[in-house]
C-alpha cells in the first residue's frame, strides 16, 4: 500500500493509477458530505466527481504543511456543492426567514433535548431546517468551518452566518423537544 504522500506525488504527475487510489480513498466520504447538502444520491455522486476533477487539477497547490488532505478535499467538495446549489438557484444568498425569539422557548425545552435520539432522528431534524439555515449549521457544526469561511463561501457577512447558526440551533431544539414529547406520549421513551 502506498503512502498518501506518494499517491499525491504520483497524482501530480498525472498517473491514472494514483488518481484511482486517491479517488478510492476519499470518494465515499465526500459523496456522503455532498449528500448531506443536496439530499439526493445522484446529485451527490455527480458533484463528487466534479469536485474530484478540481482536486486533480489543483493538487499542485496543496501544501501538506498547511493542513491535511482530507480537509482540503472536503473544502473543495463543499464549495463545489454550494456553487451547484447557487447555479440551480436553490441556495438563497442572503435571505433570512422569520425568526423565533430565543425567549419564546422555556428552559426545559432547551435542556431536555440533548440525548436519546437516533442518527435518523437527528438527520430528520437537520432536514427540517430551511436550506439557508441547514447549510450554515452543517458547515459550522459538522464540517468544522469557521464563520469567516462560511461567509466567504456563501457570500454573506460573518454576522449573518452567526445569526443563522443561532436560529438553526433554536429550531433544532424545538424540533427535538417536540419529538421527545411525542415519544413520551407513545411510550417509546422513559423519563
Amino acid at each position: 500500500m502506498n503512502s498518501l504522500e506518494d499517491i499525491v506525488a504520483r497524482c501530480r504527475k498525472g498517473e491514472r493509477n494514483a488518481q484511482k487510489e486517491l479517488y478510492a480513498l476519499f470518494a465515499g466520504k465526500m459523496k456522503a458530505i455532498c449528500y448531506r447538502y443536496l439530499n439526493s444520491y445522484e446529485e451527490a455522486k455527480d458533484i463528487t466527481q466534479d469536485g474530484f476533477l478540481k482536486v486533480f487539477d489543483n493538487l499542485h497547490r496543496f501544501d501538506a504543511q498547511k493542513g491535511n488532505l482530507h480537509n482540503w478535499i472536503k473544502t473543495i467538495m463543499i464549495n463545489t456543492t454550494l456553487n451547484y446549489l447557487k447555479k440551480k438557484k436553490r441556495l438563497p444568498i442572503d435571505t433570512l426567514e422569520e425568526h423565533h425569539d430565543v425567549g419564546a422557548l422555556d428552559a426545559e425545552a432547551m435542556n431536555d433535548s440533548s440525548r436519546d435520539f437516533t442518527a435518523e432522528e437527528l438527520e430528520e431534524a437537520i432536514q427540517s431546517l430551511s436550506l439557508s439555515y441547514r447549510i450554515v449549521f452543517q458547515m459550522y457544526v459538522l464540517d468544522d468551518l469557521s464563520h469567516k469561511e462560511i461567509a466567504e463561501a456563501l457570500q454573506i457577512s460573518e454576522e449573518s452566518s452567526r445569526t443563522r447558526l443561532k436560529r438553526s440551533r433554536i429550531r433544532l431544539k424545538e424540533y427535538l423537544h417536540k419529538l421527545r414529547l411525542s415519544k413520551i406520549k407513545s411510550g417509546k421513551m422513559v423519563e
Binding site: 491514472r16 488518481q19 484511482k20 479517488y23 478510492a24 470518494a27 465515499g28 466520504k29 459523496k31 456522503a32 449528500y35 448531506r36 444520491y41 451527490a44 455522486k45 466527481q49 474530484f52 476533477l53 486533480f56 487539477d57 432547551m110 435542556n111 433535548s113 440533548s114 440525548r115 435520539f117 437516533t118 442518527a119 437527528l122 438527520e123 437537520i126 449549521f137 457544526v141 459538522l142 443561532k166 440551533r169 433544532l172 431544539k173
Partner: protein, 182 residues
C-alpha cells in the same frame, strides 16, 4: 446559553457519524476525467488545435476559390448570320455597308473589301448591283444591325457594372468625409 449551544453541537456531532458511500464508480469517473483532460487548455495541445483549425480554414478557402474559378461563364448567344449575307470582316465593314445602303446602292465585293476601297472604278465593274428595295437584303441588314446593337449593349452594360463599384466607393468616401467634417 453557551452550554446549550455546545450541547446541541455535541449532540449532532456525536449522533451523526461520518457516513460513507462505498460504491465503486471509478469507471464513470475515469471516463469523465478523460473527457476533461481532452478539452483542458494546455499550451501544447492548444497549438495543435490551432494548427488543425487553421489548416481546415485554408482548405475551405482554397476549395471555394477553386470552385469559383471553374464556374461556367454566362453563355453568349452566337451571331446567327443569314446565308444571303456576304461574309464581312468586321463591324466596321458592316456599318460601311449599311451607310452605303442608306445612300442608295449597296456594293458587295465577294473577293476583297479593301480592293473595293482602293480601286472604286474596277470594283464597280466587278460588283453586282442589287436593287434598293430588295426585301431579303434588307432583312439581312436589319438582323445584322440588331445583333451589333445587342453586342454594344452588352459591352456598355459590362463597362457600367465595372464602373459602379468605384463610383459608389467615392460617394461613400465623400459622405464619410462630410460626416467627419460635421
Amino acid at each position: 446559553m453557551k452550554n446549550d449551544q455546545d450541547d446541541i453541537d455535541h449532540l449532532f456531532k456525536q449522533g451523526l457519524p461520518e457516513k460513507e458511500f462505498p460504491e465503486d464508480d471509478w469507471a464513470d469517473m475515469e471516463h469523465r476525467l478523460n473527457r476533461h483532460e481532452f478539452f483542458k487548455f494546455k499550451p501544447n495541445t492548444f497549438h495543435l488545435y490551432y494548427g488543425i483549425g487553421l489548416a481546415i480554414l485554408v482548405t475551405a478557402a482554397a476549395i471555394i476559390w477553386w470552385s469559383s474559378l471553374n464556374e461556367p461563364n454566362t453563355p453568349v448567344t452566337p451571331l446567327s448570320v443569314p446565308d444571303s449575307i456576304p461574309v464581312l470582316d468586321s463591324n466596321r465593314d458592316v456599318s460601311r455597308t449599311i451607310s452605303k445602303t442608306i445612300s442608295g446602292t449597296t456594293v458587295l465585293n465577294k473577293k476583297s473589301n479593301s480592293a473595293a476601297n482602293t480601286k472604286p472604278a474596277k470594283a464597280e465593274d466587278t460588283s453586282v448591283k442589287i436593287p434598293q428595295h430588295d426585301t431579303l437584303l434588307h432583312q439581312a441588314i436589319d438582323s445584322v444591325q440588331a445583333e451589333t446593337k445587342t453586342i454594344r449593349k452588352k459591352k456598355i452594360n459590362h463597362v457600367i457594372l465595372q464602373d459602379t463599384i468605384p463610383q459608389n466607393d467615392t460617394v461613400w468616401v465623400q459622405k464619410k468625409r462630410k460626416r467627419n467634417k460635421q
